[in-house]
């Protein structure tokens, strides 16, 4: 990471087609507390269909929590969240149905350890989407091929490297044909040499037009794949801008401070 915040923006050949502008995920005045801690403060965020939004910020800024509220793994205290025009329902079957349309990739992979790689990718299709087993397996194999782990289909997660596990986790989420994919620090638990293989899968996904919300510390990914960078600090969205503008000329002091810390070393 040798670029300084004031260097000219790099050309973005990998950028997907600009999003349509039709809102898919809408957060409106969202607030959340963990006890006395106000982790999300008046968050307004709209993610358009096909848009790739990268959320960055110092740790403790609430970016992971923000990501987890979108499929209601974290509940909110006030405000509203809607996906594809429908407000998030209360816990129950309605919510389960909606979650099936929202793919989630976790920092710690969270593959089902008692199931093979193939079963990990077919389970949701069979039990939630009620797809026939053969269809589910065909879909799973083509997805595993797409993320480059087709040779591992019959192994158990513990037999795979971290990078491979995370790519399986992405395939598992994609198998549900989600409208939007949420990535909660997908490369933070990976050894450095495995980060790129995961980011490359995500870049490909972005190029294919998937709507993505990505919480990450990978500034290179933000530069090359994001349509928009959202910078959070202390539970607020402090600044948001296209990546070239954000990285070359951040407006807020918090963002300047953050970038100077991560980009100079």
């Amino acid at each position: 990471m040798s670029d300084s915040p004031v260097s000219p923006a790099s050309p973005r050949s990998e950028r997907a087609v600009p999003p349509s502008g039709e809102p898919l995920v809408v957060l409106d005045g969202v607030n959340k507390h963990f006890g006395a801690l106000h982790v999300l403060r008046d968050i307004d965020l709209t993610v358009a269909r096909g848009e790739v939004v990268v959320v960055i910020g110092p740790s403790g800024s609430g970016k992971s929590t923000l990501c987890r509220t979108i499929n209601r793994l974290e509940t909110i205290d006030s405000g509203a969240i809607s996906i594809d025009g429908r407000p998030l329902p209360q816990e129950g079957r309605e919510l389960a149905r909606l979650r099936a349309d929202v793919g989630m990739v976790f920092q710690s992979f969270n593959l089902f350890t008692h199931k093979t790689v193939l079963e990990n990718v077919t389970l949701g299709q069979i039990k939630v989407r009620k797809s026939p087993r053969e269809t589910a397996e065909r879909t799973a194999r083509s997805l595993l091929d797409r993320v480059g782990v087709s040779g591992q289909a019959d192994k158990y997660p513990a037999q795979l490297s971290g990078g491979q596990q995370q790519r399986v986790a992405i395939a598992r989420a994609l198998a549900m044909e989600p409208k939007v994919m949420l990535f909660d620090e997908p490369t933070s638990a990976l050894d450095p040499e495995m980060i790129n293989e995961v980011l490359e899968v995500m870049r490909q996904l972005a190029r294919d037009g998937m709507t993505m919300v990505v919480v990450t510390h990978e500034m290179g990914f933000a530069r090359s794949a994001a349509h928009r960078v959202v910078f959070m600090a202390d539970g607020r969205i402090v600044e948001q801008a296209p990546p070239d503008r954000f990285f070359s000329s951040p407006r807020s002091e918090r963002a300047k401070d953050f970038l100077s810390k991560i980009l100079h070393h």
Binding site: A96, M104, H114, L123, G124, A173
Partner: protein, 215 residues
């Protein structure tokens, strides 16, 4: 040897009785135990309270007392005319279910929370998450303690013999009462129990080995 051979029919009768009593009670305790564990981690407060009361009550009551209640009190209030065998199964099954439930709940605690979150993110309902992801792994972790519980259940089943249920222990009492050498009778009865508990232990060891999953 004489005692065994001369009274083989009686021994066999008792052996089959114990086997039957143990296996039916074990099945009941496992089924109830899964239910108890599921209730204890349920998002519904009423179910959690119910399961907690069940576990606390049964785990802290002497099993002999439970048999007394099952055989003498329960038929008067609830199930008049129920056979002593069924009542004994009820007492043993319910008693052991509290322990099975606790073993399973500890197993549930050992499953990383992230896996349940991943299951929910895929759109699974709470029962699906429990049935497909959490309990299968909890069960593997709980296999060893559950194996011990089944051995304990086998031995606890002897109490039923004192309540008119045909089993090894009842036959022992009958043989001892009819003037056979008490010591010799004891040895054969003990060996018979040992045989059953040994098979159970081996069975669970085998299962543990088969189902072991690397984390």
């Amino acid at each position: 040897m004489h005692v065994l051979l001369d009274n083989f029919a009686l021994f066999r009768h008792g052996f089959v009785g114990t086997l039957l009593l143990t296996s039916v009670s074990a099945a009941l305790s496992l089924a109830l135990g899964v239910l108890v564990a599921a209730c204890r981690v349920s998002p519904v407060p009423a179910l959690r309270i119910l399961a907690t009361v069940w576990v606390t009550l049964l785990r802290n009551t002497p099993v002999t007392l439970l048999f007394l209640v099952a055989v003498f009190a329960a038929p008067r209030i609830l199930f008049p005319g129920t056979s002593h065998f069924a009542l004994a199964v009820g007492a043993l099954g319910c008693y052991t279910s509290a322990f099975v439930g606790e073993a399973l709940r500890r197993g549930v605690d050992s499953v990383p929370l992230g896996q349940a979150e991943a299951a929910r993110s895929l759109g699974m309902t709470f029962p699906q998450t429990l049935r497909l992801v959490v309990l299968p792994q909890a069960g593997r972790t709980a296999l060893a303690p559950i194996g011990s519980l089944m051995v304990a259940l086998t031995k606890n089943s002897a109490i039923a013999g004192s309540f008119d249920v045909t089993d090894l222990f009842a036959e022992q009492r009958r043989l001892s009462a009819t003037g056979h050498d008490v010591l010799e009778v004891f040895v054969w009865i003990a060996l018979a129990y040992l045989l059953i508990t040994f098979v159970i232990s081996e069975l669970f060891q085998l299962l543990e080995h088969r189902l072991a999953v690397a984390r």
